[in-house]
């Protein structure tokens, strides 16, 4: 079952990092849900938060005075939990549902990461790398090859470095080889 699959384990590792504050340079994600449903799509992980950091005295004052107060979110899907399989149609549907949620919850921007348990298909590379809508950063990551594809917008590019997805996938790929 998907619970013990490689993609689920990778998702668990990503979530652990985010709980520890990995994304804090761009967003302060403060709440993490599993199996969050939006219309027809069930997201394996949904994290929400803001761009204004918490902190004690100085950091809180700095956040209050210098950082914008936007609501942001992160969505993750494991290809194992998509039945029967991840297709272009299903990925577009997931993107539409995230955009719908962006508008409903008045979010400034969101990340959508899809973990696949095979090499990233060519159609997905094409779809994701050409995606340029500013408020949604897209990424596809393969747990078998460690390949990471991100969308061509600022939010998409931040997935590699700020969320540490590149490092995580390298670690996952090395673990697989070992």
């Amino acid at each position: 079952m998907a619970k013990n699959s490689k993609t689920s384990e990778t998702l668990q590792l990503l979530e652990r990092g985010l709980i520890a504050g990995r994304a804090k340079w761009v967003a302060d994600l403060s709440e993490f849900f599993k199996n969050w449903r939006i219309r027809e799509t069930t997201f394996d992980l949904y994290a929400r938060g803001g761009t204004r950091n918490r902190g004690f005295l100085m950091s809180r004052f700095f956040a209050w005075s210098a950082l914008p107060d936007y609501n942001v979110a992160l969505f993750c899907i494991c290809s194992d939990s998509v039945h029967p399989s991840l297709t272009s149609e299903r990925l577009r549907k997931a993107i539409d549902d995230v955009i719908y949620h962006l508008q409903q919850a008045e979010l400034k921007w969101a990340w959508l990461i899809v973990f696949v348990n095979s090499p990233v298909p060519a159609w997905a590379v094409s779809l994701v790398s050409r995606y340029d809508r500013q408020e949604l950063g897209l990424s596809l990551a393969s747990t078998t090859t460690g390949q990471v594809v991100v969308s061509a917008n600022q939010i998409g590019r931040s997935i590699r470095k700020q969320l540490g997805l590149n490092k995580l996938m390298v670690k996952v790929a090395i673990d697989k080889v070992n």
Binding site: E15, I19, L29, E31, F32, F33
Partner: protein
């Protein structure tokens, strides 16, 4: 009932340190008054202030700040210093999340309705693993919801 708890060392230290200091000063004064201020055993005698101070601190900690979460398949309760703060059934909740508090400590948040009223479980003050415990609670909540008898179906029967 399963119990989750952990000694919060920083809190215990803050309760204990004044007592350690007071006892060390008292021992020092007693030794000085007894004319044993220069005895080589002075350090050994002074070191007794640590176990005594931490003992008193532990008693106060257990009475005031120790957090315990006890639960089974049906219900849970949160105790702080032996007093019951929350006692409720899992079936009253529909959604669970990991919520980071203002110090970025991961606690569990139980929702009665999606984005509605909620109850926080301070699991960061226990030995629970946030992700594993969240998944366990989510399974419990989903099981309770699916096994709950539907009143309309019961009426139809």
């Amino acid at each position: 009932m399963t119990k989750l708890t952990r000694t919060q060392l920083s809190v215990l230290a803050s309760y204990s340190s004044p007592f350690v200091l007071i006892i060390a000063l008292s021992i020092n004064i007693i030794l000085a008054n007894a004319g044993l201020g220069a005895t080589p055993f002075k350090l050994i005698l002074l070191s007794a202030s640590f176990p005594i101070g931490f003992g008193i601190g532990k008693i106060i900690y257990m009475k005031r700040s120790n957090v315990e979460i006890t639960f089974d398949d049906k219900s849970f309760q949160v105790l702080k210093g032996g007093k019951v703060l929350v006692h409720d059934d899992w079936r009253n909740y529909r959604l669970v999340s990991i919520h980071l508090d203002k110090y970025a400590r991961p606690d569990l948040r139980l929702y009665k309705t999606r984005d509605g009223s909620f109850q926080d479980l301070p699991i960061s003050r226990t030995n629970a693993q946030p992700q594993e415990f969240r998944d366990y609670v989510q399974t419990l909540i989903e099981t309770k919801r699916t096994t709950e008898p539907n009143p309309q179906v019961v009426e139809a029967c």
